[in-house]
């Protein structure tokens, strides 16, 4: 089958070639075929949105080509549309003007423009709202305007960047159903849909084919067809089985997915710097307590539900607990370790001690900051020192985020503190005292 849009060995890196190059997407082959909804899943920060923007022609790959019907893409693709997570409506234009804007860009005369836009608003169930401004609409209605604007140009490929994640659960479910109905009844003149999401059930519900990305850098971990008939039922055993499978692929980076062989990925130039997962430490305690209160082992899926977390929010918490040696992950299950149990059952002060020991033993950045501060006679250093080190391994934003997370950990562990005014790290006074009590 002839692909509509095809990525050939595309990769994306930031920074300058040479030492400071950070690869966010490893060379990747991917094709969007006619008559399919392609779902792309991945943990946050895995470059899903960047991939979407490269395929749509909004971002240029650092290497490789994006090919549209056999022609290399140089700018925004013709005849594609995007539905954005934040809706990206122009607040100063009415609903009708928002929908008509893409037609205006194509030089469609006013009368035809209005007629087509009104018809499309009808299709998405917004008749009567033509003269309203976006700020007068609810989130769900705004995204309907987003759909209408995307569909009015009769795009060949409809790109969707987490289109339902800014909506409440009920509205999102409702819109998903309507999207499927438009697609199946061929009311939308679109050959293919490319949807990026972090919601596994959403992908299994909507997509004909699912691609799961791994991160640091992004690689295709698995690419499979969804063998379920529509309408799909969430309670169907085969549905949950598929969801579980995707969970396992997502949560076990070392596990080779079984549906298809793992794609061959170019080897990374150098070992990666350990990355601190960005999770609130209160959530860590919450997870460990939950595990300790139960059998000590539970399905990640159920844990997320019990903590009222999205799986995407739970994963960093699980990452923190495995990094600190408080828990293990096996087959999509999380199991608490003796150290983790000790933490869950300790009081506040004892928890800090356990956390401090575990962080110093297992988290490279925490260890590095503490040791560097201890080595200074005045026990202080500008944060730029560490930012420079991190910049070699991470993007600029990620380097900042790493330092922020390290600060939160250092504060909780009473190892060190950070002053945002002077932009310096300070060794915590207790830490100073500890260092003097036990001279090396």
């Amino acid at each position: 089958m002839q692909a509509i849009i095809e990525a050939r060995k595309v990769e994306k890196s930031y920074g300058s070639p040479g030492d400071g190059l950070i690869q966010v997407i490893a060379p990747m082959d991917l094709a969007v075929y006619p008559d399919e909804i392609l779902g792309v899943l991945g943990p946050s920060g895995s470059g899903k949105s960047t991939l979407l923007r490269m395929l749509a022609g909004l971002a240029r790959p650092s290497a490789g080509d994006v090919v549209h019907h056999g022609h290399a893409v140089g700018g925004p693709c013709e005849n594609v549309s995007i539905v954005f997570q934040s809706f990206a409506l122009f607040p100063w234009l009415t609903v009708l003007e928002n929908v008509a804007a893409p037609l205006k860009a194509r030089g469609v005369p006013a009368a035809e423009r209005d007629e087509r836009s009104v018809r499309m608003l009808d299709t998405v169930g917004l008749d009567g709202f033509e003269k309203a401004y976006p700020k007068e609409l609810s989130g769900g209605m705004k995204q309907r305007v987003g759909f209408a604007r995307a569909l009015v140009v009769e795009p060949e490929v409809l790109f969707m960047d987490e289109p339902f994640s800014a909506l409440d659960v009920l509205t999102a479910e409702n819109l998903r159903g309507e999207l499927l109905e438009l697609w199946q009844s061929h009311k939308m003149p679109t050959r293919a849909v490319f949807i990026v999401t972090h919601n596994i059930e959403e992908a299994v519900l909507l997509a004909d084919r699912i691609i799961v990305l791994g991160k640091n850098p992004a690689t295709i971990r698995t690419d499979f067809r969804v063998p379920l008939q529509r309408p799909r039922e969430r309670k169907d055993a085969r549905f949950t089985e598929l969801v579980d499978y995707v969970y396992r692929v997502l949560t076990r980076p070392d596990l080779a997915p079984k549906l298809e062989p793992a794609p061959v990925v170019a080897q990374l130039p150098k070992p990666r710097y350990q990355m601190l997962p960005h999770a609130h430490l209160t959530a860590l305690a919450g997870l460990l307590e939950l595990l300790a209160d139960g059998t000590g082992r539970d399905d990640m899926y159920r844990l997320a539900a019990a903590l009222t977390f999205e799986i995407d929010d739970l994963l960093p918490v699980v990452d923190v607990s495995t990094l600190l040696g408080f828990a293990r992950v096996e087959e999509g299950d999380v199991e608490i370790t003796p150290a983790g149990r000790a933490f869950a059952e300790a009081d506040i002060l004892r928890r800090k001690e356990l956390f401090r020991a575990a962080a110093l033993a297992n988290a490279a950045l925490i260890r590095e900051i503490t040791r560097s501060l201890e080595a200074r006679p005045d026990h202080t250093l500008p944060d730029g020192v560490f930012e420079d080190i991190l910049d070699e391994h991470f993007s600029e934003d990620e380097a900042k985020a790493q330092l922020e997370t390290a600060t939160a950990w250092g504060r909780y562990a009473e190892l060190f503190d950070h002053d945002s005014g002077s932009r310096r790290f300070f060794l915590h006074e207790d830490s100073v005292a500890r260092g003097e009590a036990a001279p090396r």
Binding site: L58, P91, A110, E136
Partner: protein, 576 residues
């Protein structure tokens, strides 16, 4: 169909209103045409460099008209320049850094320093017509208005949310459509507010721009500014008050007819996802929106023209995304850059040669003057802070007081301080204070409002739960100020002080040097030196003092205000 009585009455009411509004619009158009005829006859007529300025109140409407036209032309030029400059600075990656730094410097150069160059060039361009003189005055006002507007538009363009930009890209917006539907609307609110500040600045310097000496030549253009200055020179108190009244009247009228409608109109460009409770409104704007005549004009002229434009633009294809210059463009850019660099180097050489001719005495007086003015600016800021912080917090915390005090303060702030100078000077001379101290008062008159309004806004922005915490824990007064109020208003206070500091430096050129009752009052200061150098046509000294002032302002900005601003944005920001 019969309407219920109440409804039919409102409908009839609206119809008659609409007819009246149409008549008003019609009248305004006629008056505009007449004004255009008068002004073109005057501008294209024979040149009179030093017009006789009448002190009769009867001359005031005509003078007000001339001043207004100058302000309007200067404003339109400023707007066009600001949009163009901001656009290029935001999109041209090679030029961006340079253009932003240039704005910083240009902003710190006082109006009078542009005077000799601009005036002589314009007069040389149109030696026989009044047009040359008028354009000179217009350009002077322009130099006082344009920079903050340009910076505002640049900053707006840089802060357009990524997904909106991507939407415009993926739907293939042409350059024109992107400008009309994304960039201009996004920058509109910032432009409107900065326009108000700019035009207020224009009124402030109107006296200096309409009547001045340049070496041996005396320039006087008929207008409100020259009227006030003539009245002040003659010590004619009656005329001073007439002139003041006329100016305040014009400013209040502009506020109702231009700024309020503009603010109400620009509210629809607010980038918000949820409708806010309080929306600015303007009676006039509502009336104009209801006018059938205006509606017909829009339907018959504006819409087809806009349509034609967008079709034409659409035919030329979508705007390029992420312009990466290719081959010959790069070369052309480099050549242009080298040319500009050469010109700049040559000019710098000229500056160095000029400065070499200055005497040590002149250098010394410049340095003394600089420290005197620096001290005055600092003093005026301290005084402004001392009275506006308690007053502003009191007003901000007390809605009833605010309702009463805010309109009053707005009127007081809208009166250009320069117009009040004669009155203040009369009082100063009566109580025997010199201009050395008096000029601080004059600076204060012009700049304290920025601090006051920002403090009020800051006090209002302190969340009531923080104040309740202070109540619940029975904070004593000192604690309350130290832990709640001062940190809460800090970012606003800094914003106000930054604006006031820039204003005070600029005001020094009119506050330290003044023609009054046939004599020149002046005191030691950088501003006085700039004014007198400009009056005497001593361009060397003017150049030196301008460079010193610009350097001082830029240094103070970098060394003091920017770190404080950063602190305000990081530690004292109230959200999250």
């Amino acid at each position: 169909m019969s309407l219920p009585p109440l409804l039919s009455r409102t409908v009839v009411g609206e119809r008659t209103w609409s007819v009246i509004v149409d008549l008003m619009v019609f009248g305004a158009v006629l008056a505009g045409i007449q004004g255009l005829l008068v002004i073109s006859r005057y501008w294209l007529g024979e040149v009179t460099p030093a017009a006789e300025i009448s002190r009769s109140p009867r001359a005031l409407p005509e003078y007000a008209f001339y001043s207004l036209v100058r302000m309007a032309v200067a404003y339109v030029l400023s707007l066009a320049f600001a949009v163009g400059y901001g656009y290029i600075a935001a999109y041209n990656r090679q030029l961006e850094g340079l253009m932003v730094a240039l704005l910083d410097i240009l902003q710190s150069i006082p109006v009078l320093s542009f005077l000799p160059g601009v005036m002589l060039a314009m007069v040389a361009l149109f030696p026989a017509r009044q047009l040359g003189l008028e354009l000179g005055a217009v350009l002077l006002i322009f130099t006082g208005q344009v920079w903050n507007m340009a910076f505002s538009f640049y900053a707006s363009l840089k802060s357009i949310p990524r997904e909106l930009r991507e939407a415009a890209d993926i739907y293939g917006f042409s350059k024109w459509q992107r400008f009309a539907q994304l960039e201009l609307p996004y920058g509109a609110i910032g432009l409107v507010w900065n326009s108000m500040v700019s035009v207020a600045g224009g009124w402030f310097f109107l006296m200096a721009c309409e009547m001045f000496e340049l070496g041996k030549r005396d320039f006087r253009l008929p207008g409100l500014g020259s009227y006030l200055q003539t009245a002040a020179s003659a010590g004619d108190t009656g005329a001073i008050f007439w002139g003041l009244g006329a100016m305040i009247g014009v400013i209040l009228l502009l506020d109702q007819v231009v700024w309020r409608p503009a603010i109400a109109w620009s509210d629809k460009f607010k980038f918000e996802q949820v409708e806010s409770a309080a929306q600015p409104s303007s009676l006039l704007l509502n009336l104009v929106r209801r006018s059938a005549l205006v509606a017909r004009f829009r339907g018959a002229v504006m819409r087809p023209v806009g349509e034609r434009l967008s079709v034409l633009a659409a035919r030329r294809g979508p705007a390029a995304v992420g312009p990466s210059p290719t081959g010959w463009k790069m070369v052309a850019g480099m050549i242009a850059g080298a040319l500009v660099g050469g010109v700049v180097l040559y000019a710098l050489w000229g500056v160095v040669m000029t400065l070499r001719t200055l005497t040590t005495a002149e250098l010394q007086s410049t340095l003394h003057g600089a420290s005197a003015t620096f001290a005055r600016v600092a003093a005026s800021l301290v005084i402004a802070a001392i009275w506006t912080i308690p007053a502003g917090v009191a007003i901000g915390f007390n809605p009833r007081l605010a309702r009463f005090a805010q309109p009053f303060a707005q009127v007081a702030a809208s009166v250009p301080a320069t117009a009040l100078f004669p009155v203040v000077l009369l009082a100063l001379i009566r109580i025997g204070g010199g201009l050395g101290v008096g000029s601080i008062l004059l600076m204060l008159l012009g700049t304290q409002w920025y601090v006051l309004f920002n403090v009020i806004a800051g006090a209002m922005a302190i969340p009531s739960d923080l104040r309740e915490v202070a109540d619940v824990f029975r904070f004593r007064r000192l604690e309350r100020w130290r832990t709640v109020i001062l940190p809460g208003i800090f970012p606003y206070l800094i914003t106000g002080l930054v604006t006031a500091s820039g204003g005070a430096w600029n005001a020094s050129i009119v506050a330290e040097y003044f023609h009054f009752k046939g004599q020149t009052l002046s005191t030691l200061g950088l501003g006085a030196q700039i004014s007198s150098a400009s009056d005497a046509g001593n361009t060397d000294l003017l150049l030196l003092s301008t460079i010193v002032m610009a350097t001082l302002v830029v240094c103070v900005n970098r060394a003091l205000w920017r770190p404080l601003y950063h602190l305000a944005q990081t530690r004292f920001k109230l959200e999250g």
